[in-house]
């Protein structure tokens, strides 16, 4: 049985700046990293592998340099890594991306039974959290998002019980397999690669599937297959705060002014 982990290589967004004139991202010199949330997805897959004997396949759609991220996955213990790369895949939104990933999972499923797809909750560049659910919908898998703990797994009965973390509460959910799980940071602590594994990963095979291999219709993938188009990127202008009163000399009066202001804006009513 197979667990498919989806990962994305992203620009290190803390280092990305927006050019104020052109409104485009300044990508020069910005390093690419594995999407941090996906490291938890991979770790969870590896833990399940150790416990139940799954095989772990890691797939990623992206430009050829995504190979670096896939090699990292190999160094951590992934059994097989597949790079979905083709010019035709470029410019995809979540709709088109989830299609390519779902088709790749289907293709993997032709030779092995897929038990689970595990994703990070979202990427740090797009921040949509839509690709995981998109895959689940397309494949008809159970959709378990925001998971912070896998409670139990019954492979005979093909059932999984997970804990989802929602605002202010937890939810224990049971679902049939196969399932798509998107995980939170709290689910585990990712491991560190050993040196022999790093060296192994340096020249272990990375499978490349381009659209020739995938055979998807051109108008369903990439920019053409995307329902959304980026018109403009900009940093939102932030209004400067207003300083009222003097909290050091006269804290009481300052507090009074603050309350007045809050009342005025209908934030509190007394």
């Amino acid at each position: 049985m197979l667990i498919v982990t989806c990962v994305k290589q992203v620009p290190d967004t803390t280092q990305v700046k927006v050019d104020p004139v052109t409104g485009t991202l300044i990508r020069e010199g910005v390093p690419f990293i594995i999407n941090p949330f996906d490291t938890y997805a991979l770790e969870e897959s590896l833990r399940l592998k150790e416990k139940y004997g799954f095989k772990v396949a890691v797939i990623s759609m992206g430009p050829p340099n995504t190979e670096v991220t896939l090699r990292k996955a190999l160094s951590l213990g992934a059994d097989e890594v597949i790079l979905l790369s083709d010019r035709a895949f470029g410019g995809a939104d979540t709709l088109a991306t989830s299609l390519v990933l779902a088709e790749a999972i289907k293709k993997l499923g032709q030779t092995q039974e897929v038990a689970m797809v595990i994703c990070g909750r979202q990427t740090i560049d797009g921040d949509t959290a839509q690709v995981g659910p998109g895959i689940a919908t397309r494949l008809g898998y159970s959709q378990l998002t925001l998971v912070d703990h896998i409670e139990s797994l019954d492979l005979k009965a093909k059932k999984i019980v997970v804990r989802r973390r929602l605002e202010g509460r937890h939810e224990i959910v049971q679902a049939p397999l196969p399932a798509m799980i998107s995980v939170l940071r709290e689910i585990n602590r990712p491991r560190y690669p050993t040196v022999p594994m790093r060296l192994f990963a340096q020249d272990a095979p990375v499978t490349l599937w381009n659209n020739k291999a995938m055979g998807l219709k051109e108008d369903t993938i990439g920019l053409k297959g995307s329902a959304t188009q980026v018109r403009k990127i900009f940093s939102p202008q932030r209004e400067k705060g207003e300083i009222i009163g003097d909290g050091i000399k006269d804290p009481k009066a300052a507090a009074g002014l603050l309350i007045e202001k809050l009342k005025e804006k209908n934030i509190v009513c007394l």
């Binding site: 280092q15 602590r189 560190y192 050993t194 040196v195 060296l199």
Partner: protein, 658 residues
């Protein structure tokens, strides 16, 4: 008949002893190769100076070292006497001192007599010390110690008994050259019949023989193997300061670090044989002193126990039975112990037989990190951050030059700028240490030299990663740094941090890179001496206490420069802490401990801060960003930060500039 028996007993005992030694020393062959023979002349000098001169034991204020000196030299003389005794036992008709000319025999007799008295006295002192006022840092009342001391005492008593009986019998012609034996004969044996005296002689002779042979055969099986291995270990000592760890070669199929006993070098194993568990390492270890599990003496002991247990199995190509790390019993070292080390080097500094503790600990850390990725949680983010962003916090590299906006700083220009000011991660990112960077830049500008910084192109030197055993990533970082240094033609580097200093100077040298690395304390000292820095006198800072950074002092021998700078600036020498110079006490942050939790025992920085406060200090002067952080935290921890300030030497000088 008796002669026949004694010859057989002697022969068997000596063969047994040789066989035991062979069994023990053969195990060293499982260790990795290492050249410790080169430069034999200096090695022999070391043996003469440190071992025979006993400079190794009579050092660092250990007064009982004198007792060891007396015992050592008595032993050297008695070694001659006992060799004669053994050979005479084997070949009674051919070998005996009494066959020597009297001009040699008589002085020799006096000498042996004196040595025996001194040995007996030294043994009594040692036993009294262990019983009456045992030092805390050793297992003073161990069975091993009393067995060996008892055997030596018994040997001396048998010696005197034998000679006194011979004198009373009138068969010792050199009687007048054996004052103690002669006294004993006249005091106790004058009324004994000649027949009984012959019996006494026989009995004392056998007692002497059995104790000596027993002693000999006991040595290889006890901690007193030290007697056999101590002097050779001085011969094999590292001829350079042990301030770095060896490189590793990364290629497929290799094994990294010391996860198994045969992963140490033969010298590493030999270290464990030479240890007599004197405990000076533990006495000086900041981790031991503050109640951590780490005790350097026990680390060496466990390595020895592991070698004795697994060594024979490895020689026979069988599976080992006792893991070197994490076995939970004697002969196995726990992970917690290994992570507790600050690599301050105090253990190695005081070890009388030059055992190299720190490289072993780092080697075992390497096994944990590189082979099994067993790393304390806190270190995972350190490793990731350093690997991805070349700083411990994972801050954006672009922020590396932010501090420079507040100072008059120029970028390093290849072919133009002479000195690189290597700011280091703390100096660049840490709010407190940025002030030190600004102070240093003021000093550099005042001294009139040509200098610059790399700004956002500067990378972390990798010190913490190397000490924590992440050699793989360290190796990559070194190669990246070297590339930058070569591209920019950088030859001379001034550092703020002693850890950058040591790493660039001593670790990078292993990569064939010869840099002139200068720590800011050295630089400032030179500039003041040559008159290039003009000082105006410092303002009142209260009592100024100086703290030695391990990586500056013990690692690189820089003790005088900062003291001389303080004297120049303030007009008087700094106030010294009780533990200073080569016996200084670590702040607790070295060896990657900066990035780890300190959950067990007392905090090391609190211990050191309290020591500084004992001197009624108004200012604690440091030369290292780690020490700075640890003292400031220490002061906050004991709520003394409003009374005492911590300043870097550069800040004091910068304030005093004209």
């Amino acid at each position: 008949m008796s002669l026949y028996i004694s010859t057989i007993v002697f022969a068997v005992a000596i063969v047994l002893f040789c066989w035991s030694c062979y069994r023990r020393f053969r195990l060293l062959l499982i260790g990795k190769a290492e050249d410790r023979f080169k430069d034999a002349g200096r090695r022999i000098w070391n043996v003469l100076y440190y071992a025979f001169g006993q400079r190794c034991t009579v050092s660092h204020g250990y007064r009982f070292g004198w007792n060891h000196l007396v015992l050592f030299w008595s032993f050297m003389i008695l070694l001659v006497a006992n060799t004669e005794f053994l050979l005479e036992g084997l070949f009674p008709d051919y070998i005996s001192f009494s066959l020597l000319p009297v001009d040699i025999y008589h002085p020799l007799a006096v000498l042996i007599e004196i040595a025996s008295v001194l040995a007996l006295l030294a043994v009594c002192i040692a036993i009294t010390r262990r019983l009456a006022f045992p030092p805390s840092y050793i297992e003073a009342r161990s069975r091993d110690a009393f067995i060996i001391l008892g055997l030596i005492a018994l040997l001396m008593l048998a010696f005197f008994g034998l000679h006194a009986s011979e004198i009373a019998q009138g068969s010792e012609e050199a009687a007048s050259y054996m004052p103690v034996s002669e006294f004993l004969a006249s005091a106790f044996l004058t009324n004994v019949s000649p027949g009984s005296l012959t019996g006494y002689i026989e009995a004392f002779w056998w007692l002497h023989a059995i104790v000596l042979l027993g002693f000999l055969n006991y040595l290889p099986y006890s901690k007193h193997m030290h007697i056999l291995a101590g002097i050779p270990n001085v011969f094999f000592r590292s001829l350079t300061k042990v301030n770095t760890q060896p490189r590793e070669e990364f290629k497929k199929g290799n094994v990294y670090g010391a996860g198994k006993i045969d992963r140490f070098t033969w010298k590493g194993l030999f270290d464990s044989y030479s240890c007599t568990e004197c405990g000076r390492c533990s006495d000086n270890c900041p981790a031991t002193a503050t109640g951590k599990l780490l005790n350097p003496r026990l680390v060496i002991h466990d390595i020895k126990v592991n070698l004795l247990k697994n060594g024979p199995l490895i020689t026979e190509r069988k599976e080992t039975v006792l893991p070197l790390i994490g076995g939970g019993r004697e002969g196995s070292i726990s992970e917690e112990v290994l992570w507790a080390c600050t690599t301050c080097g105090a253990c190695m500094e005081v070890c009388p037989v030059f055992i190299e503790h720190v490289p072993k600990i780092v080697d075992m850390r390497r096994a944990l990190v590189e082979m099994s990725a067993k790393v304390p949680d806190e270190l995972l983010s350190l490793f990731e951050n350093t690997e991805q962003r070349s700083n411990p916090w994972g801050i954006v590299p672009a922020e590396r030059e932010k501090w420079a906006a507040q100072a008059d700083v120029k970028p390093f220009v290849a072919g133009e700028t002479q000195y690189l000011f290597y700011v280091g991660c703390f100096g660049a990112y840490d709010a407190r240490s940025r002030k030190v960077s600004i102070a240093i830049s003021r000093i550099l500008n005042s001294s009139g030299i040509s200098w610059g910084i790399l700004g956002k192109d500067e990378l972390c030197c990798g010190d913490s990663l190397r000490r924590l055993g992440n050699e793989f990533v360290f190796d990559r970082m070194v190669l990246e740094n070297i590339k930058i240094f070569k591209e920019k033609g950088i030859k001379k580097i001034i550092t703020q941090c002693p850890h950058c200093y040591n790493t660039l100077k001593n670790d990078y040298r292993q990569y064939g890179l010869e840099l002139e690395v200068i720590h800011h304390t050295e630089f400032i000292n030179e500039m003041i001496k040559s008159g290039k820095l003009k000082l105006n006198g410092a303002k009142d800072m209260g009592n100024l206490v100086f703290h030695d950074s391990c990586y500056l002092g013990r690692y690189n021998g820089i003790y005088e420069a900062p003291r001389s700078v303080i004297a120049s600036v303030t007009g008087k020498a700094p106030i010294e802490m009780d533990r200073r110079n080569d016996r200084s006490f670590c702040c607790g942050a070295g060896g990657g401990r900066m990035w780890m939790e300190e959950g067990t025992g007392k905090r090391i920085n609190v211990e050191r801060t309290e020591e500084a406060l004992k001197k009624n200090s108004g200012t604690i002067c440091v030369c290292c960003p780690y020490c700075m952080t640890m003292f400031e935290d220490g002061l906050k921890g004991i709520k003394a930060d409003d009374k005492v300030q911590v300043l870097d030497l550069a800040e004091i000088v910068s304030e005093a500039l004209k």
